[in-house]
């Protein structure tokens, strides 16, 4: 994991350049802010004030999903789940958006000899797409394993055409790709790949990460995982975003020590 050595964290105002609906409840917004587009690294996030009202009061964290430094914009991809994401989804093109960022550490890129395997559950695709963008820029290819509850979200896969990715899909209901969870699919495909020199990058719901943690431990694979917790500040002041260290010696703080961790170093619940 690359520590955030950047001293350019800022309270910023961007402008919404475009908004897209991927599905009924999955949205993408494009935000113009040149410095963020230029310096953000895969795995980093921003903390957005979604409305001026006292509810929701706290900012909401979102991974940076894609950047375009040349044009000075970046994107976030999110699911509408509550008041904050609802307010975000209502924002009109050209309106201002108030955020703090870029925050947190970032994924370490693989050695040239390593094969990257990206494992996403649902909206866990958000930071991994940015990683895939960087890998593509570095002329590296990767395998992407993406699991979703149903096939609906897969309309999003057209975004991957500009990326150097070999894709494998899983759905809970079998409506697209492998029927079952994405870690089971990963196990099956990796056996076929017979490649030991891989580096896994993952983001998704905790049950998926738990399964992956067990799998990575059993096969002795390196795995970097991006975690989500509740957050108040996003920059190390509130101590609210703790995650337990695997050795039981205390806590990491997701906004500062993470969000990217070596999967061996943390305890994952749920």
């Amino acid at each position: 994991m690359r520590a955030n050595t950047d001293t350019t964290i800022r309270l910023a105002t961007g402008k919404i350049l475009a908004a897209f609906s991927v599905t009924e409840d999955i949205k993408k917004i494009r935000i113009s802010h040149r410095q963020t587009a230029e310096c953000a690294l895969p795995g980093q996030f921003i903390n957005i004030k979604t409305s001026d009202s006292l509810f929701p009061l706290l900012r909401r964290p979102f991974s940076i999903n894609r950047t375009n430094p040349a044009q000075g914009w970046f994107e976030i991809l999110f699911r509408v789940v509550g008041a904050g994401t609802n307010a975000l989804a209502q924002l009109k093109i050209d309106s201002d958006i108030d955020f703090v960022g870029p925050l947190g550490n970032s994924f370490s890129l693989p050695d040239k000899s390593q094969n990257s395997v990206l494992v996403a559950g649902g909206l866990g695709i958000a930071p991994l797409e940015f990683l895939a963008q960087k890998l593509t820029e570095e002329k590296l290819s990767a395998h992407l394993f993406w699991g979703n509850q149903s096939s609906e979200a897969f309309s999003y896969q057209k975004q991957f055409s500009r990326l150097n990715l070999k894709t494998f899909f899983a759905t809970d209901d079998g409506s697209l790709g492998f029927r079952g969870n994405v870690v089971t699919l990963l196990e099956r495909e990796l056996a076929a790949l017979k490649d030991e020199n891989i580096c896994i990058y993952a983001c998704g719901p905790n049950p998926m990460l738990r399964a992956l943690q067990n799998f990575a431990a059993a096969k002795n694979l390196t795995c970097q995982v991006s975690l989500e917790t509740m957050m108040a500040c996003g920059f190390g002041a509130c101590m609210g975003c703790n995650v337990e260290k695997a050795d039981g010696s205390g806590y990491f703080y997701v906004c500062q020590d993470g969000p990217v961790f070596d999967i061996k170093e943390i305890r994952i619940y749920g």
Binding site: T7, R10, T229, M231, A232, M239, G240, C241, N242
Partner: protein, 305 residues
């Protein structure tokens, strides 16, 4: 420029805007956002004798116009505080008050003594009001005798500014306030968080691992105002207000009600520049209302007779 300076007994602040303990780290976390030296002062995260890992996850939950926290005084302990944080804090021109907590009555004075022998800071805030720890914390601040004892022992190890931070989770806050005043407190900080709870209806679990936590944010402002009013009426020492302050109007309300300074807490998470902005806003407010010195408005609440 209006005169924003306020005197709290033996100590002056360049303006009445301080930051609240636990919401501002040691200030360094906020240096990307603002000039700390523009603030009246900063109050550090609680420091205890031993390092504390804090409570299990999840520690925070959002509530209507507020938040719950159960951080549990996570901190590196006084020795690492002195080694790692004190040099930075000593370099600041604004006032620095160290928030001190402990599991035992003697621990508070011990933490202060160690910081004093390392050169000391401008003052100390005795936290007998944390609702998130099993030992010490609020259990001390709900008992006037224990509050008196802790204050007295702290007074014995320092001549510096000493404020005792009170919990609202008591039947009579004035009784505790008077106990602190009589035993050497220079000021009182009113209030710490209120005990609160939130439930996730899908999992039917409490949203915090510790079940209950401390409620802060705009939701508690009316409670804080009432407590400042009561305490300011019961003691002669100055009161520092804390609770739900989000904007300059809130600051003025607390000053009118009797506070000599205010602390900005949860608002720092919402807008990391807010504390510095409030200094500017307060200055503009004074100019607009032809107030030459901010002290003119402290305790000017008009009551019907």
């Amino acid at each position: 420029m209006a005169n924003l300076q306020v005197s709290l007994g033996k100590i002056q602040f360049s303006n009445p805007i301080l930051t609240a303990s636990g919401t501002f780290g040691t200030g360094e976390e906020f240096s990307p956002f603002l000039d700390l030296n523009h603030l009246g002062g900063i109050v550090t995260k609680a420091v205890t004798r031993e390092p504390r890992a804090g409570n299990p996850h999840p520690r925070i939950a959002e509530t209507s116009a507020g938040m719950l926290n159960s951080i549990g005084l996570a901190n590196v302990g006084v020795d690492r505080f002195i080694a790692e944080k004190l040099p930075f804090l000593k370099g600041l021109k604004c006032r620095v008050i160290v928030n001190v907590a402990g599991k035992t009555i003697d621990e508070f004075a011990e933490v202060i003594r160690r910081i004093e022998s390392a050169g000391g800071m401008d003052g100390y805030e005795i936290n007998v009001s944390c609702p998130n720890v099993k030992e010490g914390g609020m259990a001390f601040g709900t008992n006037p005798d224990v509050t008196a004892e802790i204050t007295k022992k702290a007074r014995q190890v320092t001549d510096k500014f000493l404020t005792v931070k009170l919990t609202p989770n008591v039947t009579s806050i004035t009784e505790i306030a008077i106990a602190a005043e009589n035993n050497g407190a220079d000021a009182l900080t009113v209030i710490n968080t209120l005990v609160g709870m939130a439930v996730d209806i899908r999992s039917r679990k409490p949203k915090l691992a510790t079940i209950t936590g401390g409620l802060s944010g705009p939701a508690i402002k009316p409670v804080a105002l009432a407590k400042v009013f009561q305490v300011a009426g019961a003691v002669k020492i100055p009161v520092i207000a804390s609770g739900g302050i989000m904007n300059v109007k809130d600051v003025i309300e607390f000053l009118i009600t009797g506070a000599s300074a205010v602390q900005i807490g949860t608002a720092n998470f919402v807008n990391p520049k807010i504390s510095e902005k409030l200094v500017d806003d307060l200055d503009s407010y004074c100019e607009e209302h032809q107030i030459n010195s901010i002290e003119e408005i402290i305790g000017t609440l008009k009551l019907n007779d």
